[in-house]
């Protein structure tokens, strides 16, 4: 057993955010077939977001290419369709401002054991890594809203 943020995981294998699209039947199937100790959902925003249109690969120099999907997602409410998934879920969220991120957190909190704030993805202006300057305020605001005790303990430990 591994403890993180007050939650006990059966093993260290957690599916990271981004690899598994937020398609309920697919997430359900992966949970059933592979039994990861948790699944981090693909980062969601409060409102749905369309992917970058193909080509998702662009040339930035000789033999140098960058792939960017664009953090597309069906919106935070998709997590309500994950209700019968037996694997613990980690809700990954982002947005363009604090209000939007808090609203996304309010939705994903209901079905998440941990909230992950995506402040690293580089491929959408105003989101992901572009939030780094505001991260402290984002965490404080999300923590003040969270009711789930596991999440609260974890987020408070970050602030302290």
């Amino acid at each position: 057993m591994i403890k993180l943020a007050g939650y006990s995981f059966s093993d260290p294998i957690i599916i990271a955010s981004g690899g598994l699209p937020n398609v309920p039947d697919l997430v359900r199937r992966v949970c059933k077939e592979y039994r990861p100790s948790a699944i981090t959902i693909k980062t969601v925003t409060f409102n749905p977001l369309a992917p970058h249109r193909a080509p998702t690969v662009i040339k930035v120099g000789d033999s140098c290419y960058i792939n960017a999907i664009g953090m597309n997602n069906p919106g935070a409410n998709i997590i309500n369709e994950f209700r019968d998934i037996e694997c613990p879920l980690i809700g990954s969220i982002t947005g363009t401002d604090i209000d939007e991120i808090v609203k996304a957190a309010e939705i994903v909190e209901k079905r998440s054991i941990i909230i992950e704030i995506n402040a690293s993805s580089p491929n959408r202006p105003g989101m992901g890594m572009h939030l780094l300057d505001k991260l402290s305020d984002i965490v404080k605001n999300v923590a003040s809203m969270v009711k789930n005790q596991y999440l609260l303990n974890y987020l408070q430990s970050l602030i302290l």
Binding site: D25, L26, P51, A54
Partner: protein, 222 residues
């Protein structure tokens, strides 16, 4: 990703085939596909028409609107390719049936060639499925195969299901359905654009085991 040089182009009934000499050896299994990347312009799904690992030459088949983009590529141009993508068809047994309408058969040309080359008994049935779901002659033709590869447009998927039901196919037979009518955007399943009934054809397919997809009443509506 690999580079190749466009050697020639030729028309095949409903599409165009690009013959490309690739710069690195690759291995392509039946059921996989390739994407052509035109940087900053397009990322195109293509069917494998033929492949020779001995000559390092690949032939890619393109249908529909994408054809116009391809036609503008000049001969001898260096092209960026992504792949092979998707999952190969699992080969079991010795009798394979390709079931398709005439317009679609070119999409599985490489699969047909590959199966024949490794010595499998390959039958090809071209039919207009909407009129044939209960045709005893057709039903007789499709039983007794180890693998069935079905290639039809989305609008006739309900008829396809009926055909397999009436034919009473053995549960041992593997049936693969080509799902290429979904959008192929990132080609890796990550963007979920290709998601269909909880399956990601661009990543897990595009030939999907029929047991993995729910061919319910909502599928096949015109």
């Amino acid at each position: 990703m690999i580079y190749g040089r466009l050697v020639s182009k030729f028309n095949v009934n409903y599409g165009i085939v690009l013959r490309i000499r690739i710069e690195e050896p690759i291995k392509i299994m039946p059921g996989q596909y390739m994407a052509i990347i035109i940087p900053n312009k397009a990322q195109l799904f293509t069917y494998i028409y033929n492949f020779s690992d001995y000559e390092n030459v690949i032939e890619l088949y393109i249908q529909g609107q994408r054809r116009a983009i391809i036609e503008s590529i000049p001969i001898n141009k260096r092209i960026l390719l992504e792949g092979p993508l998707g999952l190969p068809i699992k080969i079991s047994g010795s009798k394979v049936l390709a079931l398709a309408c005439e317009k679609e058969i070119y999409k599985i040309q490489y699969i047909i060639n590959y199966m024949k080359n490794i010595g499998l008994n390959m039958d090809i049935v071209c039919l207009d499925i909407e009129d044939k779901v209960k045709d005893p002659e057709v039903l007789k033709q499709i039983v007794s195969h180890d693998i069935i590869i079905a290639v039809f447009p989305k609008r006739v998927i309900k008829e396809l299901k009926k055909l397999f039901t009436y034919a009473n196919i053995s549960s041992i037979t593997k049936i693969y359905v080509l799902i290429d009518w979904v959008g192929f955007n990132c080609m890796r399943g990550v963007c979920d654009v290709c998601a269909f009934n909880g399956v990601l054809p661009c990543f897990e397919g595009p030939f999907i085991d029929i047991n993995k997809i729910k061919l319910d009443d909502s599928v096949g509506e015109r």
